[in-house]
Amino acid sequence: MRSLKRKHITLLALVVLIAVAPLFFPSAFYYRVGTLMFINGLAVTGLVVLIGYAGQISLGHAGFSGIGAYACALGPLHLGLPPAASLVFGAVLSGGIAWLVGRPILRLKGHYLAVATLGFGILVSMVLTNEAHLTGGPDGMAVEDLGLRAALREIGISVRAPELWYWFSGLVLLAGAWLVLNLQDSPTGRALRSLHDSEIAARTVGVDVARYKLTAFVISAVYASVAGSLLAMMNRFVSPDIAGFLHSIQMVTMTVLGGAGTVLGAVTGASILTALPQVLTVFHDYEHIVLGLIMMLVMIFLREGLVPSLAKLFGRRER
């Protein structure tokens, strides 16, 4: 019952946040920042499954975002796919690659996964940068619109693009969060969380450790891919930076900052780190230092992350 309640609290909090925030938006720019928060939140929600539930780490998830983003850029251009189908194609491709890469790696311990994913991310951004005839190289390339606005106009609704993207990405985040929250208390979710505490104990009670790690890895890859697709279609532009190492690190930092174990925590972490560069204009120069410090400090002093630690501080009643 308790966890059922927590699930609904999380979803309710998200709905309220998404619905109420625009009342305080003085300009369209804020819709854009909000959209970025939701998209990052979606990617990070996927990482909750991998880091928070299964206790594994990836230092290359931006690679999957890159695949999703470039699927949306290249799909309509070279395969004649409509933009929405390109998004799905990117997600399937990411999931498939995650499955292929994850199978050998996930049999082993955390370090190997960290390094292999790190290498994978570097490999993806290398391909995106080097295959300039296909991807436009470091300069990036234009991306076709999702076509939502045109579709809405046909049925007589006209929305400005930033607002439309705000509501759309908010909905996608809600759907993504709902799926992950449902997963948490399913048999698969319980198996995943048993890995986090002790792999050996999980194996002893009959959990197929390698398979569940792989499941978590594939799920998180698909989330990262969809987030990458959305980002590319909102910006109408994509460059190899999206698959870069720094982006992977941003994702991990967002996840652990808010609290990798809960969706609400992770979305909070994503929101904070998305808002930070907008508030602090000097942030860009210090981005590495800030990200590095957050990663170290959170892991040393607030190992569960901001939101669970605060929740513990404020209320025993939740327990």
Partner: protein
């Protein structure tokens, strides 16, 4: 034939650097079971600090020695401030901490130094030798020679000195080492200082050839880890062989396939090792005790 020899020369040169990075991984891993992902940053620190101290007017040798000392101090600080407070943390936690440290050091280097590529003069000129139709830079010989000295020096340290034996004992079984009076905290600190210094030495040696900048650390860490894994995690001899192997594979990839994908070689090595021999060439089969 001379082409192949040329690739072998360049492979051995970078391989020696990877071997040193892998050795740094190995020393810290043995002493504390921590895989230190900021290992590559020490190479960067060694090179960059030397560049800027030299530019500030210090003679090259003094700048290099000071850079190695500074890197060792950073290593000690890393252990005291970030690793020790997180004792008994899970593997994932430690990975995030050391990656955080790596990003942090990179950010500091970007502010303290700058974002340009740098080099300093080679130790003994840039006139290449010609060997059987292939050329080799004097600095390459310095790299190989330096790596050999580091490996031999460490071999002597671990087998001939009491402190070295204490490190080995800690690597074998920390609790047992503690029981016979080894100060395991000191051993940890020493390991971080040693690893950092070794990384910095690698940076000093190779910078005249490959140049350096604030962001070279992470790819070096990736390649050093691939080397350590190929040789068998925790085995210093394996680090040496693994490093040379990764260097050679990379040089052959660059020479015969495509130079823009040479960095992919390390990743392929990692995947191949995981598929074929998960414990590396000289690693022990690992069994988890509950």
């Amino acid at each position: 034939m001379s082409e192949l020899l040329q690739f072998v020369f360049s492979g051995v040169t970078v391989g020696a650097v990877y071997a040193l990075v892998a050795l740094g991984f190995t020393i810290i891993y043995n002493a504390s079971d921590v895989v230190n992902f900021s290992q590559g940053e020490f190479v960067m620190l060694g090179g960059m600090t030397t560049v800027f101290l030299h530019a500030a007017g210090l003679p090259l040798a003094a700048a290099a020695i000071l850079a190695v000392v500074i890197a060792a101090a950073v290593g000690i600080a890393l252990n005291k401030l970030a690793i020790e407070p997180a004792r008994n943390a899970s593997v994932v936690t430690l990975i995030i901490i050391t990656i955080g440290a790596s990003i942090f050091l990179r950010g500091v280097a970007q502010i303290v130094f700058d974002k340009q590529l740098h080099r300093f003069p080679s130790f003994s000129g840039d006139a290449p030798f010609v060997v059987a139709g292939a050329t080799i830079l004097p600095q390459s010989l310095w790299v190989v020679f330096g790596a050999a000295v580091v490996f031999l020096g460490l071999y002597g340290f671990f087998t001939r000195t009491l402190t070295g034996k204490a490190v080995l004992a800690t690597a074998n079984n920390r609790l047992a080492a503690k029981l016979v009076g080894v100060n395991t905290n000191f051993v940890m600190t020493l390991s971080f200082a040693l690893s950092a210094a070794i990384g910095a030495v690698a940076g000093v040696l190779v910078t005249p050839i490959t140049l350096t900048s604030y962001d070279i650390g992470i790819t070096l860490a990736l390649k050093g880890f691939a080397a350590a894994m190929l040789g068998g995690m925790g085995n210093p001899f394996g680090a040496l062989v693994g490093g040379l192997a990764v260097g050679l594979i990379e040089a052959m990839t660059a020479g015969y396939i495509s130079s823009s994908y040479k960095d992919a070689a390390a990743f392929i090595v990692i995947l191949a090792v995981l598929f074929v021999m998960p414990n590396g060439m000289f690693g022990k089969t690992s069994v988890n005790r509950v």
